[in-house]
Symmetry: C2
Subunit: 600 residues, 2 copies
């Protein structure tokens, strides 16, 4: 990332293009995938100097000297390095370094990361950590400053918060390209002063406001949101969402993540409604390590987009040039043209898109699916690895769900239960009548209702919010716990056994965070995430294996749900209806109110 700017290199690049100096690297005889003109130009050579492209054309032999490295492309395609226009590294449960190591062999040479999760734990210093880590890497990692921390002010207490002052400061950092997803869309169209001040600070700095309008309502609230300034949006899911955004001058970011499948429907805006494709950009948003290791990254997204009927060069534009233009980085990246970083993927087929060689900044960084350079592991400072602060050892009794009215003779109670719905992010606000024993409300396996708890973990208060959840299907004494609990990332626990819940909580306290599964008193799976309780310090393959084991462990406890871990980690996401849990209590997200556990 820490490369010389074009303006520092014009003399050298011109000298190489003119043949007065020798290139570091020349790629001979490729099919130049020209994302500017929309052509594919066979018989093209590329000359590289100092990490940037000096010449692209029919013959770079005049740029070759005795020390010039030569790569024979043998008529394979030269594609600009792929860009992920919006993504959260934390979703991969690895550091930026390990994420990069995992995706470089897939042809990714630029990532636009929104470190929203670490911001909820560590605030601006956490964002700075990932920003600084990003700057050490051999690919381009641009950072979007998180905008909504907390996501739901008043309804949750994150580890730190972000406001206009923090945004203004971050805009001065070299790696910041804009404001991360403006999720609080009601705040934007409602005129919230702080949010508007954050957007103003971003625009004043000449940078891009990332959008996040997660509503199907394309009426006034949508128009109000657009007028506030967000310049892109990756929350569309339907054809009409993409069309509406583009018509209003926003970029439609089409998302294919580990659990997001939003390309197929929206890409019809190009393939069927023939909208100008320059307004469309591909991204992943959230990729789990298992996806990166098993299926790929932006190469997967481009292949998928082509499979929906896009011309290959159009799909490639949406993962290269369009992204660069959107962020004002077109002079640095996004195409294979003079002055830009020499970020090039060599492939023998534009549809199957095998990633045969990856060049970043003029350096061969991967070949045939394997990383070709040494990238040192990145070590996070102490303040980032001791973030799970419980304040005490938890006991089973911490998970007592006590009646608020002391009536020792009461035997049942009607309580609010978060109803998890298979394959959907929104939950149902259920009401269930549960047994009461000695004033303590009990879960009811017969109704599929388990214990649910949120353990405050940022300020060591030892506070636990208790509640109930249905849908996981646990049918043995067990507990699952996670310190990845969007967006405030307290510790969330679901279990059928309070002693296992305590064991799970304490275990995560010991390892500094992660995900753990206890069954019948024994730990049967653990993913350690010591960095902010969100990220591992290990490689993506290892994390993917541990996460895979964790999914198996869920099943061993009786859970048959798809993406059960994801559902677990969203139980505290107090911006998605209908019912959630936070450190403030049970939250009705239909009315944005903290409500009691008991009904009435």
């Amino acid at each position: 990332m820490n490369r010389k700017s074009w303006q520092e290199m014009t003399q050298d690049l011109v000298a190489v293009a003119m043949g007065r100096m020798h290139a570091d690297l020349v790629i001979c005889n490729g099919r130049w995938v020209n994302v500017h003109s929309g052509e594919i130009l066979p018989g093209s050579d590329v000359a590289v100097f100092g990490g940037r492209i000096a010449y692209v054309g029919p013959d770079a032999s005049h740029c070759i000297g005795p020390k010039t490295r030569i790569i024979e492309a043998k008529q394979r395609y030269l594609v600009p390095g792929l860009c992920d226009a919006h993504m959260h590294v934390e979703s991969g449960m690895v550091t930026v370094t390990e994420f990069a190591r995992a995706v470089i062999p897939h042809g990714t040479t630029s990532m636009f990361i929104d470190p929203h999760e670490i911001a909820n734990v560590l605030g601006l210093p956490g964002v700075r950590l990932m920003h600084d880590e990003a700057a050490t890497l051999p690919i381009n990692v641009y950072v979007q400053m998180p905008s909504c921390v907390p996501s739901a002010p008043g309804l949750e207490t994150p580890g730190a918060s972000i406001g206009p002052d923090e945004v203004a400061e971050a805009m001065t950092w070299p790696g910041i390209v804009g404001l991360g997803e403006m999720m609080n869309f009601p705040g934007v169209f409602g005129g919230d002063e702080n949010l508007h001040a954050e957007m103003a600070a971003t625009m004043r700095a000449g940078k891009v406001i990332g959008g996040h309008y997660a509503s199907p309502d394309l009426g006034r609230p949508f128009h109000g949101y657009v007028a506030g300034g967000p310049a892109d949006d990756h929350e569309g899911t339907r054809l009409e969402d993409a069309v509406a955004r583009v018509r209003q001058g926003m970029k439609a970011m089409l998302r294919l993540g580990s659990a997001w499948y939003d390309v197929a429907a929206q890409v019809k805006a190009i393939t069927e409604q023939v909208l100008d494709s320059r307004n469309f950009i591909l991204c992943t948003d959230d990729s789990h390590s298992g996806t990166l290791v098993g299926e790929g990254h932006m190469d997967r997204v481009v292949r998928h987009a082509i499979a929906q009927g896009l011309r290959p060069i159009t799909a490639i534009q949406m993962a290269t040039l369009n992204t660069a233009l959107h962020f004002g980085l077109e002079r640095d990246m996004g195409s294979i043209t003079p002055g830009r970083y020499a970020d090039i993927v060599i492939t023998s087929d534009l549809v199957a898109l095998p990633i045969e060689m990856v060049i970043a900044g003029g350096q061969i960084v991967a070949e045939n699916g394997r990383i070709a350079i040494d990238i040192p592991a990145y070590t996070y400072p102490d303040f980032a690895v001791g973030t799970v602060k419980l304040g005490k050892r938890l006991a089973a009794s911490d998970f007592d769900a006590r009646l608020t009215t002391e009536n020792r003779r009461q035997t049942t109670a009607t309580v609010r239960v978060i109803g998890v719905v298979e394959n959907q992010a929104p939950t149902k606000a259920l009401e269930r009548t549960l047994p009461v024993v000695d004033g303590l409300i009990q879960p009811d396996p017969a109704q599929g209702v388990s214990h649910l708890a949120l353990v405050e973990r940022h300020r060591a208060t030892g506070e636990v919010t208790n509640g109930f959840v249905s849908g996981f299907g646990f049918n043995v004494p067990c507990a699952v716990a996670s310190t990845v609990a969007h967006d405030s990332h307290h510790m969330i626990i679901v279990g059928t056994d309070m002693a296992d819940m305590a064991r799970a909580a304490n275990r995560l306290g010991e390892v500094g965070g992660g995900v753990v599964v206890f069954k019948e008193g024994r730990e049967i799976a653990l993913v350690e995430l010591p960095i902010a309780g969100l990220m591992s310090d290990e490689r993506a393959e290892i994390v993917a294996a541990k996460a895979g084991r964790m999914v198996e462990a869920f099943a061993e406890c009786g859970c048959t749900m798809h993406n059960a871990y994801m559902q677990l980690s969203l139980l505290a996401l107090v911006v998605i209806p209908e019912l959630r849990i936070s450190d403030k209590g049970i939250v009705d997200v239909r009315t944005f109110e903290v409500v009691g556990l008991s009904v009435g």
Copy 2:
């Protein structure tokens, strides 16, 4: 131009979009020419507040209050205000104000001006004058900082010069969007330190380097030029020129000026070679007042582009959104979408493109070809209007072309003659044997050879460079003189009568510059250009009429050449081959050397 930024207005724009506040203006029931999506959307309303667009969609009735002005579009097209991406106001011989007054009724709401001519006379303070004038106008006038003053260092002496320091200073001014056409292309690919420093200062400021590669050679020099950083180019004339520029990541600016016809050939890159049209931008470069008054401005260019077979919306994109994107101004202009300036043209036909109403910054500025607002004339300060400094009254004898070797008996001499070629900018380096009388070389009407003189006018040195020219066809005693004499803008005179030449020079000295024609001792035409000797302080219609009279006067002196005035004003342009005149002498532009008048 001095409008609030979007970030200062997000609250208000959102409030209007949501119906919480009332719009200043609502346009009802138009066909929205959506340059983002590439669609035309009937039944669209636009709501405007504070000069910016707050809402565009099917129904803005919720934005209407008792004081909201309503315009019924009656299903006519709503087109974004047209942009001229590269132009020299001085070519119209009027001020920026009068240029704007002339072009607003033609739908132009944004101009990107390169005040290269005034920079040659007055340097950075001259650029600042036009920059400051631009800021007073009701349309957007962005300024490109001139890069090449003088155009040919060492071969001419302009009134002032520009270097990296001046460029760096100008980049801090609010209205500067980039560096003006980098004409010294040999300097770029040759590695000239000053030019590279100017380009670096521009890129450091995050602004755009305008290109000007005026050569048909698309080999190494072209590639070297591109590697230096110019981001666009309007000097292409052939299909292959446009294609080459786009492939290299430059924007191809296609030019239709008063004397430039470069759209038809190059637009085939889109209509025949199917290149991605987003890389193409329309501009005029140079428009004479007569063209503005009689034919139009960007409306003329868009109509012409459509007549070449472009889809109307594509041609409109090339005069709106593409331009805005290129200069990083897409959040302010170039489309009819929320947040952008309310710059809108209403027309009932996208091909004939009658400009029926023009709205700029939410204000109706023209209707049915007439300006609808009061734009006060702009007064230039004294230092800008006393720039023709001759230092003395010139006499006929100042135009003596004396033999350098004193040989009183010599009766002929072979001298270099600038051969003007009909309809071409390049001249021929001719050699002609002319009569000599008393050691003075005489013109020869039989060979079509007239006197030619360049009078130094910036430093009052009284110096005159004498020479000979052929091609004008003057056949009576006469003289034509101009203080518009690219690029240094000394005074250039062609004549058959030395007394008339002196009269012409002295007359221009009196009026502070312009163009004058003397025939047989009498002034038969005069265009006063008192501002820097380049621009009138009168309206474009008046200047056009005077310029028209001047062309007639040329003909009355026997001149049958097309564009004779333009040929006159280019005789000192020491960057275009083959032979030119400057204050340094006769210049051979094939070798970039000052040569003697006499051959051998």
